[in-house]
Symmetry: C2
């Protein structure tokens, strides 16, 4: 259904939006303007969200948020590494 596609496009954009930040932080090795707490709280939120999606049996949401978690943890790793 069209409405489902809208939901998937929206969710995908939100997840994909993490990619430019990951690439930028990885290339510039500069992360001082990034908030450490932003990515810590975000990662915890995504872990809970994945748990929620798994429990209610929503595969696509679990997969999308797992990709998001991977990207968020990459940014968090770069932030901790470069300060």
């Amino acid at each position: 259904m069209l409405i489902d596609i809208l939901g998937y496009v929206a969710g995908s954009l939100v997840v994909i939006s993490l990619l430019p930040q990951t690439i930028k932080s990885w290339k510039t090795r500069s992360t001082k303007d990034l908030s450490l707490w932003r990515y810590i709280i975000y990662a915890i939120g995504l872990i809970l969200w994945i748990t929620y999606a798994v429990i209610i049996g929503n595969g696509p949401v679990a997969v999308m948020n797992s990709v998001g978690l991977l990207l968020a943890l990459s940014i968090l790793f770069l932030k901790i590494k470069y300060g």
Copy 2:
């Protein structure tokens, strides 16, 4: 139900996680390490998600993502202002 609470806590954390970044960028007036595209794509994703939530009649998701959109647009504004 407990499972609904998990969903709300997860969604709230994801939205609230934008707050430390907004505060940090606003205080330091330094946003060069932030990816412009991250926040442009994110804002578009959130607008679609709010549209999706309104269409399926999910009030809490629409409200949570509207708060997220407001914070994301604030960061985007600061990024455009401070470069």
